[in-house]
């Protein structure tokens, strides 16, 4: 009986009949991916998985962030020319990384929502949005506090700073758009389109410091080259980044679990009032 109110949310697993037909006719790759996606689109299955992994996100987050921040603020050396101001980096860089990663997550959710009508992706996008907006705000504020003593300006309109500001507004737009409609499905659809269109900003942020000359320095850590920073600074930075990333995942997971339970509660209540009539 308790499955019935959830038929709407888990429709993906129910409609596996069409996937079977595709399998006979030689499925396109999209069909196979869809089958895999729908396996994890079931909110009940996600809820069980999410409950189980929550402590494995929360505890590493607290531990790694504490180690990284203490290491970075008290035990890593000061930079030869920036002095102790360089320690802002231990907050600024993880925040900047998560701002982009969070938006990439929004874009993936948007794709899942638009193409596969993945209901869990809609819920996830609504929960990632505010967290991503906060971390992007932290990135902008910490960068501003760093820019004033080093560059001599709180803010400049260079390509890196402007593209991250645009990302911040995209997050705010997404947060507002998800909640702008009486029908949550329409809000989710509009927000998914915004998330996908806004993803164009991500490569612009990444390559802004290479394509145009900017006041912001180029990346110190790249996939192709050796890092241009001392290992005594790099290690605490990596620990901080890992800790922040776990923290981001922990907050999003906790919020998403709450959102799924909220949806389930609302549907049970609706089903209850319907039966009473």
């Amino acid at each position: 009986m308790h499955v019935a109110p959830f038929a709407d949310l888990s429709s993906g697993t129910v409609s596996s009949g069409s996937a079977a037909i595709e399998a006979v006719a030689g499925p396109p790759p999209a069909g196979r991916i869809a089958g895999l996606l729908h396996r994890y689109a079931n909110p009940g299955r996600y809820l069980r998985l999410g409950d189980r992994i929550q402590p494995f996100l929360t505890w590493p987050a607290l531990l790694l962030t504490t180690i990284g921040i203490v290491w970075g603020l008290f035990f890593s050396p000061a930079d030869w020319q920036q002095g102790d101001t360089v320690r802002i980096m231990y907050v600024h860089v993880p925040a900047a990384w998560l701002a982009s990663l969070g938006y990439a997550g929004l874009a993936v959710c948007g794709l899942l929502s638009l193409v596969w009508r993945h209901r869990l992706a809609d819920l996830a996008a609504a929960e990632i949005g505010p967290v991503g907006a906060c971390i992007t705000g932290l990135c902008l504020v910490s960068g501003s506090l760093w820019g004033r003593p080093m560059w001599g300006a709180w803010w400049v309109w260079d390509a890196r700073l402007t593209s991250v500001l645009v990302l911040f507004f995209l997050y705010l737009g997404h947060v507002a758009l998800v909640r702008a409609f009486d029908d949550p499905a329409r809000g989710a659809r509009a927000a998914a389109i915004l998330a996908l269109a806004g993803a164009v900003d991500l490569p612009i942020i990444k390559f802004s410091v290479q394509w145009w000359n900017t006041l912001h320095q180029p990346d110190s850590i790249t996939l192709t080259g050796a890092p241009t920073m001392s290992l005594t600074i790099l290690w605490p930075l990596l620990v901080c980044t890992l800790g922040f990333t776990f923290g981001f995942a922990a907050i999003v997971n906790a919020r998403l679990r709450a959102a799924v339970m909220e949806t389930r509660t609302r549907q049970l209540l609706l089903a209850g009032t319907g039966a009473a009539r």
Partner: protein, 169 residues
């Protein structure tokens, strides 16, 4: 074609079109997105005197002259280079902490009739290298690097120099 794959193609097509449009727009505005002009660009196509631009480059070693008078802001002159040509800059005011010879800077201002650049604001641009003070001191002492003539050597070449071994030497 199923409904899902049609939606996938539609979303993919829209994304491609939108990315293309963005790329073309950025390409068209590329000259405006650039935060500053290099000295060789300024000399090759001189902007009209009085038009506000940003000039960016490295402060030439030995070019910094500062005149301090009591009760007045210091008057500073220095040259900015991109390795090909140099432009003399004049500025009245307090320079940022990171300002030094060999540092990259960005100056906001306009070209003057005498060919010098009158700056209203000077920003310091630091590079992407982060190194402990002891290592920088040791590199300078051993003569492997002089900050006045450009970027430090690659991190791999000095990462073995931990704080302890530097103090010991």
């Amino acid at each position: 074609m199923t409904r899902k794959s049609r939606r996938l193609w539609l979303v993919g097509g829209c994304m491609l079109g939108f990315s293309g449009a963005t790329l073309l727009t950025l390409q068209a505005f590329s000259a405006n997105i650039v935060f500053f002009m290099a000295p060789s660009q300024v000399l090759a196509s001189p902007p009209a005197p009085g038009r506000t631009i940003r000039l960016g480059g490295m402060v030439v070693a030995g070019s910094l002259h500062e005149v301090r008078a009591d009760g007045k802001e210091p008057s500073v002159s220095f040259s900015v280079t991109d390795g090909q040509s140099a432009v003399p800059v004049r500025y009245v005011g307090i320079l940022p902490d990171l300002f030094r010879e060999g540092q990259s800077v960005v100056a906001l201002g306009a070209m003057r009739a005498d060919g010098s650049f009158g700056a209203e604001e000077v920003l310091a641009k630091h590079d992407e290298t982060y190194m402990p003070k002891e290592v920088a001191a040791a590199l300078k002492k051993s003569g492997r690097w002089d900050p006045r003539f450009g970027k430090p050597p690659s991190a791999a070449s000095w990462n073995g120099m931990t704080a302890a071994s530097v103090r010991g030497s």
